[in-house]
């Protein structure tokens, strides 16, 4: 109980972050991440 009280903010942030990840995945953010990551981003590496 003492641990839960001390770590209430951390637990809350962890729960919100997991919900955020699930929501982000469900609305298709993963495809944007993959799309960017599987093509050479010239401007990202300083060439563009």
């Amino acid at each position: 109980m003492n641990f839960l009280r001390k770590k209430a903010i951390s637990i809350l942030v962890l729960i919100l972050s997991i919900l955020g990840m699930i929501y982000g995945c469900s609305r298709g953010e993963l495809s944007v991440v993959l799309g960017k990551a599987v093509t050479v981003c010239l401007e990202c590496i300083g060439l563009g």
């Binding site: 770590k7 929501y23 609305r27 944007v32 401007e43 300083g46 563009g48």
Partner: protein, 285 residues
């Protein structure tokens, strides 16, 4: 072999393993092609450019700018959630043990040159980098763009890891890319050289001054589950821990400083064994 040496070797092995997994497609370096498999759906907790031919995972900072700057989404719940989850679980333990660019900096730091300490104000620059280059500037560009597309300004103008681990290997492997070298390349080359020289004379110069990922994890260091705990009943305030710290933290004064990368040097340096690192350490008393 004493405990300090064993601990240092363990940490280095974990760093090498993390670097190895993050860059397992090293065979792509010869062909200058990047890995295009499904692992890139996931982000690396550390800084590792996804345009590096060897990279297995996506860069969280690059992915954050990509999703925030995409036509379809204005805010990435997936990446922000990922960064918060990693940060609240581990804090800057990621910087000390997992980050591939952290290992690169430590290896550069092995070059036998005099090492200097930075003034405290310089460590706040990375929060400005996070705010301006990762969040605000891409958003401003997106809001003014006809198609509503942002620009990855941190990657484009700052990130030395992108040029070192992505740009240079691709330039070496594919001569066609020489034609697309533009003025931004010069800016990034100057930043890369500055960071490399900085890492030779200041331990983890990039982590201390410029890393936006370190800034995010640093902000979560205070509430992370992985903590550093100083037993005040044993601590004599001798300051040996502060002297041992590569990040210029005073562990006995600020236990969970945003600069602490949980490397454990202070815990091993303490002659009274007053410093402990681990999960839920602050709940013991």
């Amino acid at each position: 072999m004493n405990n300090l040496k064993i601990s240092r070797i363990k940490r280095k092995l974990i760093q090498i393993a993390a670097f190895g997994f993050s860059n397992i497609h090293a065979s792509n370096l010869a062909s200058a092609k990047i890995y295009i498999g499904k692992w890139k759906y996931f982000c690396n907790p550390g800084l590792n450019c996804y345009s590096c031919p060897a990279a297995t995972l996506s860069c969280p900072i690059g992915a954050l700018q990509a999703v925030n700057g995409s036509m379809k989404f204005g805010f990435s719940f997936y990446i922000v959630g990922f960064l918060l989850a990693v940060g609240v679980l581990f804090g800057r333990l990621i910087c000390g043990f997992i980050c591939p660019f952290g290992l690169v900096q430590e290896l550069i730091g092995k070059i036998p040159l005099p090492k200097f300490h930075l003034p405290k104000w310089m460590t706040y620059i990375k929060y400005g980098v996070l705010l301006w280059f990762v969040l605000l500037w891409p958003w401003i560009i997106k809001s003014q763009n006809l198609f509503g597309i942002g620009d990855p300004t941190f990657c484009k103008y700052i990130c030395p890891a992108g040029l070192l681990l992505g740009g240079v290997p691709l330039l070496v492997g594919d001569s066609n890319l020489h034609q697309v070298i533009g003025p931004i390349f010069s800016i990034k080359l100057v930043i890369l050289i500055t960071v490399l020289i900085g890492c030779m004379i200041v331990i983890r110069f990039f982590c201390k001054v410029l890393c936006p990922l370190g800034a995010i994890y640093g902000l979560l260091n205070k509430i992370s589950f992985y903590q550093l705990h100083v037993d005040k009943t044993i601590c004599t305030g001798c300051g040996i821990c502060a002297h041992a710290c590569p990040m210029d933290v005073k562990p006995a004064v600020t236990e969970n400083s945003a600069e602490c990368i949980r490397c454990g040097e202070c815990a091993h340096a303490c002659p009274h064994q007053a410093i402990h690192l681990g999960f839920f350490k602050d709940s013991k008393k």
